[in-house]
Symmetry: C2
Subunit: 309 residues, 2 copies
């Protein structure tokens, strides 16, 4: 499935107040900034610290976005949890509001589970949500979840629920897997997203849909530009520039680095906070990150402080 | 800390109805049967499929035990979740009812987290629960959680919260680690439980507290007998017999095997059901398990069908 324009989504970072509660005002502001640059909102992803949030907290943040007038069609919330009732509750809620789709982790506590067990899990979710608008993007992120989604499992789910299983995010970091998923399922309209913009051009050239990437939180404009102009003459140069920026962030714990940069460019220290077990960058790391970003001429143009909202 | 009698706890298996909802009646009945044999109730452990349950489901099951007159002092519920608010809510609820302690997993979604991050997480839990009755047993189970608890972390937590960090369950399967934890912290009253009765005698001889073991769901009497009589002449023989029984269950997916045996000996097929992604044993596996158990003369004496309760 070759296409005019690729799509970019950001697993939106989640701001926390001094008591570690989610900060709705800053969350909405950051989402608006991303949308302004044509980046969709894959809220409650790994880089959103979604699994450090209770289900009720995620539902309240989601509702705050809807109430703020964020279009549901630009939302792809993560709803996959270890427990079936949690996944069903979050998915049903999101689908009822008309989201583009949901990004679904497999249950990730038990390791070495079978494809049959995972198939039954996703089947239960589809059956229980029971909504023909349900569009699931499977979330393959074995380095973190430690529960991979095999090609055989994807094939079986697609055959059973062709209208509900619509795509996959591949955060394996293994291009041969991304390419295999695109080759095997892409022709039928299955939308494959790379988990990093470092693979954006390769993904689009192979017939994939785009990327859902942590660093789209901080470098959205440039990533969205390549997604749009990937058939232009300067595409490889654009791709190389994206990789250079990403590699700066990858030298640090990534979520902490995204938050440190957002804190700095919005002049708002509240953004730097993470929930344990994750930690903010220390002073030395921050200084190193900011020096590297300055050397690269990095900026987050248009980012406003929360007080200006 | 050498002691007269060791202690045994069972991570109680959780029965599910046809709609996969937890079955309170059978749960209470199984807990009573375990208590009758002097085995405590480490409800909501790994073998309880705790992480396949929503927080609300666990709170309701816990309350059903209290309402049924199960003594809170015989309960050690698992309360560790990925999200701080979930861990705090479950822990606070359990402590308020007067449980012996809580068995606490580290947050297990993010991998490769630092000791500093884990220390801050457990610190937040202690501070937020804010109850001097809080007694935490740390739950070290790296094969499943993939987030180990280091000796340095234990030491730091013990120093910061000596009244709240009271012990550890070691499900690493690595005796050298269990021994190291006992040697380093046992003299101060820190209670170290082996995660399997295969290490029960070694643990007690080294000065540990006992075991918290999956197979205590099906073989409670014999395990509790060794815990009491570990200084008797036949202790090594008893230990060898426990290992033989356990090895039968370890030939199969363990939770499914525990449930299949419970279904058979209570003549109650409802017990055989698991929540996806875990699966019940298939017919061939059941036949093989039952043949091995029969050859070994295995029984679950006193187990009643739910209808007889």
């Amino acid at each position: 499935m070759s296409q005019e324009s690729g799509r970019v989504w950001s697993p939106v970072i989640t701001p926390f107040g001094a008591d570690l509660s989610p900060d709705t005002k800053r969350f909405v502001a950051h989402c608006r900034w991303l949308l302004d640059q044509d980046v969709g909102l894959a809220v409650f992803g790994t880089n959103s610290e979604a699994n450090s949030l209770a289900v009720g907290e995620k539902i309240r943040l989601f509702d705050a976005l809807i109430d703020a007038g964020i279009p549901a069609a630009r939302l792809m919330p993560g709803t996959g949890s270890c427990a079936l009732p949690d996944t069903v509750a979050q998915t049903r809620h999101a689908v009822a509001k008309g989201v583009e789709g949901v990004l679904m982790l497999p249950p990730f506590y038990y390791k070495g589970v079978s494809d049959e067990g995972l198939f039954r899990y996703f089947s239960e979710v589809v059956e229980r949500v029971g909504d023909e608008r349900l569009r699931i993007y499977l979330y393959h992120i074995p380095p973190v979840s430690q529960v991979p989604l095999s090609l055989a499992l994807i094939e079986r789910l697609l055959r059973a629920y062709p209208g509900n299983i619509v795509g996959l995010k591949d955060s394996s970091g293994d291009w041969s897997n991304t390419r295999a998923v695109i080759e095997q399922f892409g022709a039928d309209g299955f939308q494959v997203y790379a988990g990093s913009e470092s693979f954006l051009l390769q993904t689009l050239r192979a017939g994939g849909a785009g990327c859902i990437s942590a660093t789209a939180n901080v470098n959205p404009g440039a990533i969205a530009r390549l997604a749009k102009s990937w058939q232009a003459d300067d595409a490889d140069e654009q791709q190389a520039a994206l990789v250079r920026t990403r590699q700066i962030f990858e030298r640090f714990p990534v979520i902490a680095a995204l938050k440190a940069a957002t804190a700095r460019f919005s002049v708002d220290e509240q953004w730097a906070r993470l929930r344990a077990p994750l930690l903010a960058l220390d002073e030395r790391q921050r200084a190193e990150l900011f020096a590297l970003l300055d050397d690269a001429g990095f900026d987050m143009p248009g980012l406003k402080t929360a007080d200006l909202e």
